[in-house]
Subunit: 316 residues, 2 copies
Amino acid sequence: MSGSDVSGSALIGIDWGSTNLRAYRFDGSGVVVATRESAQGIVNIRDRGFEAALLALCADWIDSTPNTVILMSGMIGSRQGWIEAPYAPCPASSGDVARQLTRIDTSVAPAWIVPGISVVAENGVYDVMRGEETQIFGAIDSAASAFVIAPGTHSKWIDIENRGIRNFRTFMTGELYSLLRSHSLLGRLMIDAPHDADAFSRGVRIGLEGDLTGHLFGVRTEGLFARIAPAALASYLSGLLIGAEIHSATQGPSRWVELQKASTLRIIGTAAISGSYRNALAQAGMTNVELVDAHHATARGLWNIATQSTQLREPK
Amino acid sequence: MSGSDVSGSALIGIDWGSTNLRAYRFDGSGVVVATRESAQGIVNIRDRGFEAALLALCADWIDSTPNTVILMSGMIGSRQGWIEAPYAPCPASSGDVARQLTRIDTSVAPAWIVPGISVVAENGVYDVMRGEETQIFGAIDSAASAFVIAPGTHSKWIDIENRGIRNFRTFMTGELYSLLRSHSLLGRLMIDAPHDADAFSRGVRIGLEGDLTGHLFGVRTEGLFARIAPAALASYLSGLLIGAEIHSATQGPSRWVELQKASTLRIIGTAAISGSYRNALAQAGMTNVELVDAHHATARGLWNIATQSTQLREPK
């Protein structure tokens, strides 16, 4: 399906993650003309009510447009989702991904799921992403070679070559933060408060030393000795974890060291988290950072994949 | 108070941690003649009922012996405990600690609390221990110089010089394990099962690479790709965390690198956890490891501190 083919039908792009469901309605030239969102992420769906959740969000879009095609990315393609969409191995371009869509039968319109991406690290352990590949293909459009960071619950650092995902690594930064904030001894000392830039920066400095398990206990002692106020401790922890992530990503094997000299690093995320990463990267000496809005990248990625897919035209 | 002075009165040693309370009754020569235990750790004590919990465990010991003296160590001396016993700074020997006991008024007998120990790391962040110092002074008796590991919720690596604690570091290994096992996405893939030595060893190998946040997600993928069985995943995680701890402790600044060549490393702990650490240390090339029973070390440490203290003789 070429760009003009997409205009022949109508594309609805779906970003369906663990906790949120977001729909983009495209016009024939790829412009997003409407966006809708609900809290029906896959963990909130009961009794496999995926189709009902989708229709609750955008049945009117489907009904009002002949030949609607639906393209979905994210955890909806995981084992806990609607149907498991097998991973495409690295290296993988948007064209590779577009050839490996998984079809779902719905009662209303043809629907497809973008595969996640897998890679085997040098130590033999697998890494995977699901959803971020679509964002990445929306964020690197014109870049043959790039480094991309997609911060979050499971932060991804992605190495782009020849417009494809060559390699990537996952860091459990966001999940560790939540666990430590909500369930650990460290969290008990903290008071909810706005982001504290000084405490965050202090955490980054320590985190950049690496050695995370050895530094986490310092969150407790900095609190115990009243060197960091309870209202600033969560920002210190956040800085510590992001600093440790940057240390790991840049000290690790293979091409990751090139991050240090990469001309531009793109961060895909919301303004708040991307800003924190930009500040932390600057402390590590990486200042050429470009922020890409996550929703915008997802929409563009879904459109890019759709326009390269011949599968979307297959008869039902 | 010399050894013979202790025999003049009677010593009850108390190891009072967050979740357990353990009492040792000594004869006049330091032999433990009776041990009792309850679940009245400080987090389980309501309305500051510390004295009641102590008496419930060993009132009869106190009543039946004239001039009983009680010496306590552990979290009972923390801010959440009976009374806060200020930290003694490093370097600290058992003699230093014996001069800085904190007195508590009870209705039955003089009682004292052993101070915790604090140190400031090269990056300016404090580290603290409370309870382990007493175990250490019971475990290093004749060693002028040694390295000691006290694994646990907050694992300690201790550098001993001139029979005193010169420096130490805390690793949140045990707490991270519990958090990840009970509350994380990783834990959801796990099935409770006996220790799996192969999966543990595989985790240690990866953990020894350092870079913990970058390896944790592998627990998920090794499960997803069915390379490690759900019943073995918890052992893999445990190995990963202990491997990362060993990496951090031995790659860090200052004297810690000497651990690699230390003639003997002592591990204070229960048989199960000490055995896991011994196996992991062997994978890291450290084979001269001696296991010390934690309860035995605590009892000996309490006795050692008591026999060096002049405070215990002070009139009430």
